[in-house]
Amino acid sequence: MMRQLKIFRSLVKDCISNAMQGPRTYHWWMGVLTFFMLLGAYCYYQQLSKGLIVTGMHDSVSWGLYISNFTFLVGVAAASVMLVMPTYVLKDVDFSKAVLIGEGLAVAALVMCLAFVTVDLGGPARAWHLIPFVGLFNWPRSMLSWDVLVLNGYLFINITIPLYILMSRYQNKEPNKKFYLPGAMISVFWAVGIHMVTAFLYAGLPARPFWNSSLLGPKFLASAFAAGPALIIIILEMINRFTTFKIDHKSFAKLALVVTVAAQINLIMLGSEIFKEFYAQTHHSLSAVYLFFGLHGKSGLVPWTYVSLALNIIATSILTLHLILKSYRWLTVACVFLFVAIWIEKGMGLIIPGFIPGPWGDIVEYTPTWIEVGVTIGIWAMGAFLFTVLVKSAIGIEQGKLRFKGSV
């Protein structure tokens, strides 16, 4: 036990010193991220001292930018399973190099998720009421308690597995499959779980007909498995370009296949939703009308909706063509398009219309304030910072730069 702790301490030390070194671009990158994190911290300080009144949220639209980003990022976190499953479970070694990056992404995304939920709380000081046995955890009745549980569980799994593997590699040992395989398999189920539970969080509210749809869960999965791997492709591309860590072409091709299929399914589901809302319009379709056309002259989301729809269709077309032509020239561009499209669709495009019109038909629009935007940017910067450090350490260990030197 003591030995493990000593190794762990040495690992952390090595990783920190590794994170401090890098080329000029790396320092610039981290510097910019730190600046945005400080900016976010300042904005959050403003919010803490004045109350949530400084955000654009109000009694009609009581969730906004924070919860939108939270929802989207749960998908990103869940999508890391697309790398884990083939590598560990199906023994397809294609992704072995990329898988640690995927799990790093999952960790960063989850930390961002938890941060977004925390900044959305009216009383973050009382968040300890959520701790089972110390506070009062309304489980299993409340879907939010399920969400807290699965997100933290997923975070735990995604920290322990890579940590075990990295610790082994750090000591020049081959990680024991008996240890990490069960964990990897649980994480596969768990990833689907976190996203379904997050969907149920919304779908379980008959009060909000826009969310109260059985398609929401599957659609969450489809869009997550499109946006998540799309982000991974973008990141791998960057790693390929800026580091000495090379990821083979086959990994990209496999990931592109996943993204394409998921994007196609997502588009089909979107079409099915549009049909249902507009073919036989009811009182319950008003949210969709607001989203696509605006209601009573209020149309704040309409331009975003069409940008998202256009990007989604363009990206899916490019990806489909790639698959047919077996060429990946526009892959990164398509992935960026898809990522942005789904960020809009599943973020603001999902959360805001749920509240418009309100239970008594009131239409009050929502526009995030600069403070809210600042906090959001800060959290994204924090996620990027954490991800960079994690990936840099992981690559360092994988490439053998970081090794345990001490003797025990």
Binding site: H58, P140, P182, M185, I186, G193, D362, V364, E365, T367
Partner: protein, 210 residues
């Protein structure tokens, strides 16, 4: 080995889901309403605050009702009661003496129409301290609802039951209900138009903010 893992996880998951759903299909809580038919006796020491509310009341005189309730007194609220202080003689005689316009000459009747209503429909011209029914029986001012109920039987039924008329002194028994004249001016019973006591500006403000 691998398969048993999967089965195990699925089993735990299923159990958890069913457990969480188990108590959501309970019997409608409002079935309790139909079931409760016994009279409830209240421990009034729990409701001391209500008993402290001071409202002068008399017991209503409604024979056909199995439970009695209280109504606020009317007579002592009228400033120049008893009327017989001034109305010492029958009205026709007073008019003949030509004292001129005095106390309530300005009352005009905006209640039903001239065909069915005039002062003497309700006021006893001989005994001014009392009201008179359509069949020329006396009705005390404290029990003026008897007067109104002659025409407004639907409203009277609602009032007896509890759907019409404002409840005074809380929801616990004994029931104290405002009488007709407590809210309606008998000479002009319709509610009047007025500006709301506040304007709902919260939402207007909210919209200005954004």
């Amino acid at each position: 080995m691998k398969r048993s893992w999967i089965y195990g996880i699925v089993l735990i998951y299923t159990v958890a889901v069913f457990w969480s759903c188990s108590d959501s299909h309970q019997k409608s809580g409002l079935a309790k309403i139909q079931e409760s038919t016994d009279t409830i006796s209240y421990d009034m020491s729990n409701f001391a605050q209500v008993q402290d509310m001071e409202i002068a009341v008399v017991l209503s005189q409604i024979e056909e009702l199995d439970s009695q309730f209280l109504v606020p007194t009317r007579a002592r609220e009228i400033s120049s009661f008893p009327c017989s202080n001034c109305h010492t003689k029958p009205l026709a005689q007073l008019k003949a003496e030509k004292i001129g316009k005095s106390a309530h000459w300005d009352i005009s009747l905006a209640h039903a129409n001239k065909l069915s209503m005039d002062c003497s429909t309700c006021h006893n011209m001989e005994k001014p301290d009392e009201l008179t029914s359509l069949t020329k029986n006396s009705i005390s001012l404290d029990h003026s609802y008897k007067q109104c109920s002659q025409c407004h039987s639907t409203q009277f039924n609602d009032w007896k039951g509890g759907a019409h008329g404002k409840r005074l002194r809380g929801w616990v028994p004994p029931r104290v209900a405002q009488t007709c004249v407590g809210c309606h001016n008998p000479h002009k019973p319709a509610f009047e138009k007025r500006w709301p006591s506040r304007l709902n500006t919260a939402k207007l403000k909210q919209e200005q903010n954004h």
